[in-house]
């Protein structure tokens, strides 16, 4: 039973990380109908920035609390900046192009960013400094759930709450929902759609940066290629829950995380990714609109 609970907890942690990345996909898709292929790379850059800042600070001997705060803030700033720039360079000029064009541009951006980090930094796996200490009060349950799992779950829950409040009640959040519903109409009622799109990319990148920071300190090592597979899986989660739907992305992520965790625990860890992709293929065959997504009925 302990093993089951342990797998359940690690599945939840995985799911939480996927959710943080999947939200970026789903929000962007909801607004401009584009699969932002480079989103996984934004997550990777968030993790890398966090790694660089945290290591520099720890070398210069700053206290842990200061390191955590500065690292978190700089990862968020730089990820958002990259997300914003990627949108401006690779997607904005293609707003009215055929569907395939921005998708290929996004793939190009993903390859570009990966190799940029590879060339500017290194291709080796780098040890990520320990940012989350072992809490004393977690000791009785430490064999089931670790301190970092707890931090990930709590941080994710808070982020989700803030995001919901932001989308529901702020001016910008309302503008986002309006733009997602009908871009032309949003323009007509005076919403600056370009700014809303930029804001969406920034918010998505911010969440991805949080995810990057959390997973890097959880796993303890990073590499330039981590964004690709994480991005694909988060996208799988977003599709699973119904792309464009924010609660759907969270639900899909948790299901994917749990599936992977149980598959790894009870079957074999070698086929973890195969399970994820098979789940994606199956979902798309039987329910292309996802669990909570709206069916897209084409009208002529």
């Amino acid at each position: 039973m302990d093993y089951f609970i342990e797998l359940f907890c690690s599945g939840l942690t995985r799911g939480a990380i996927y959710a943080l990345i999947a939200l970026g996909y789903t929000m962007v898709y909801g607004i401009i109908g584009l699969i932002n292929f480079a989103h996984g790379e934004i997550y990777m850059i968030g993790a890398f920035t966090a790694f660089i800042v945290a290591t520099v600070l720890s070398i210069y001997g700053f206290p842990l609390a200061a390191i955590v705060v500065v690292t978190g803030i700089s990862a968020a700033i730089w990820s958002s900046a990259y997300g914003y720039t990627v949108e401006k360079i690779a997607y904005k000029p293609l707003r009215n192009a055929p569907r395939l064009t921005p998708l290929i541009s996004a793939i190009g951006m993903s390859i570009l960013l990966q190799n940029y980090v590879l060339l500017a930094q290194t291709s080796d796996f780098l040890p990520f400094p320990e940012l989350i200490p072992e809490f004393a009060f977690m000791e009785p349950v430490a064999h089931i759930i670790g301190s970092s799992d707890l931090v990930i779950l709590v941080t994710t829950a808070i982020s989700m709450l803030l995001l919901t409040l932001f989308i529901k009640f702020t001016r910008l959040g309302k503008a986002m929902r309006a733009t997602a519903q009908d871009k032309t109409m949003a323009l007509l009622v005076g919403i600056n759609v370009d700014r809303v799109i930029s804001a969406t990319f920034i918010v998505g990148s911010l969440l991805a940066a949080i995810g990057g920071l959390l997973i890097a300190s959880h796993i303890g090592q990073i590499n330039f290629a981590i964004g690709f597979i994480a991005g694909i899986k988060a996208f799988t989660a977003a599709v699973l829950g119904g792309i464009g739907s924010i609660p759907g992305a969270v639900l899909g992520s948790l299901i994917l995380g749990l599936t992977e965790s149980f598959a790894t625990g009870y079957v074999s860890s070698d086929y973890e990714d195969v399970f994820a992709f098979s789940l994606l293929v199956l979902i798309l065959i039987f329910k292309p609109s996802g669990l909570l997504g709206r069916a897209n009925i084409g009208k002529v």
Binding site: L34, I35, F48, T49, F51, I52, V53, T55, V56, I59, W78, A81, T85, I89, A90, L94, A97, P98, R99, L100, T101, P102, L103, I104, S105, I107, G108, M109, S110, I111, L112, L113, Q114, N115, Y116, V117, L118, L119, A120, Q121, L126, P127, P129, F228, I232, F235, T236, D270, Y271, D273, V274, F277, S278, L280, V281, L284, I285, P288, G298, V300
Partner: protein
Amino acid sequence: MTMISRQDVKRSLLVSLWFVFLSFPIMVIQVNPVERTVVWRWSNMLTVAVASFLLSLLVRVWLFRQEKRLVQVQLSPSPQPSIFHDLLKQQKFRYPLVIAGSVIVLAFPLLFSSYQANIMTTALMYIVLGLGLNIVVGLAGLLDLGYVAFYAVGAYSYALLNLHFDLGFWAALPVGGLLAALFGVLLGFPVLRLRGDYLAIVTLGFGEIIRLILENWSAFSKGPSGISNIPRPGFFGVEMSLDQAMTFMYYLMLGLLAATIFVVNRLQDSRLGRAWVALREDETACQAMGIDKAGTKLIAFALGAFWAGLIGVIFAAKTTFVNPASFTFMESAIILSIVVLGGMGSITGVIFGALILILLPEYLRPLSEYRMLAFGAILVAMMIFKPEGFITGSRRVYRFQAQKNSPILKDDE
């Protein structure tokens, strides 16, 4: 009115400043977490500043000229096709060009070393792969990001059939192609209902599944260490030295390429080819015209996969070794860039794209580490500045041409 105004310079400076900020942690700081040292690479910052400033100015100049050209086009209604396109169109140039090209291609292994011929063989393989993917992406408009899976199926089917049943190259060639086509149909069935971008992700997932299975199912595929000692193709039992085998490989590839070009060319103008183009342009309208959407898509997948399978077999025979590392997503991305760069739907374009993307990095070995970086940049830049590729696939246009002595024309005049 000058080309670059002061405001342009100011804006470019701002852009440059932004990129300096953006690239600061990753370009400037290099930490060594084991020895706990930090290296500040300030020279990189200068490079980024200068490069982004110049690039930004360049884009501004381009935009300025584009605007000017747009005005000119509006003034004079005749569009100006590219010089290259013009050159190919004129009969006077066409035949000498084709003849000169084929003489060079045919005599290539005699003129150059076997090393060069080997590189050229690789380029020819990528041309055929590009032509195969072109059927799926360029003609039928189905974005396939897992094309390399079929290439892997071909390569592994030869490697495994040879290992277990001692099957020769010539017998494995059609088997590999057909097996890949079968996988194409297998992939095609579930994704029939999906639209462009979903399709892209599922095909990508499919490609990854195939690679992961090859990597992890060691009992079947020998895992990451791969299968070695795959025999090269024979020619009626003639004993060949390594050099001769390479030359033979080259001509074999050339023959296959010629056959592929012939088939693809005929396909394009066939009923099926036109159905593909119709499918690409508008699925709903295409269905309304009575085209069997499912069948047409499946055939596109199967045919595209067939060529990938053939090349897979040849790849296994050429390198005499296969392992899963040769079939990553990057390989799919390279083949896709060949199609996109050359111009989707155009045979000349694919040949052109493959030659550039495969030969350029081979001859620029010192710059090879920048290869993938350049790939990414080129893909983005192409989509923004020239989404139709270098050579656009020309659609056959049926135009009513009145004969000189026809009575209709007289009325017209």
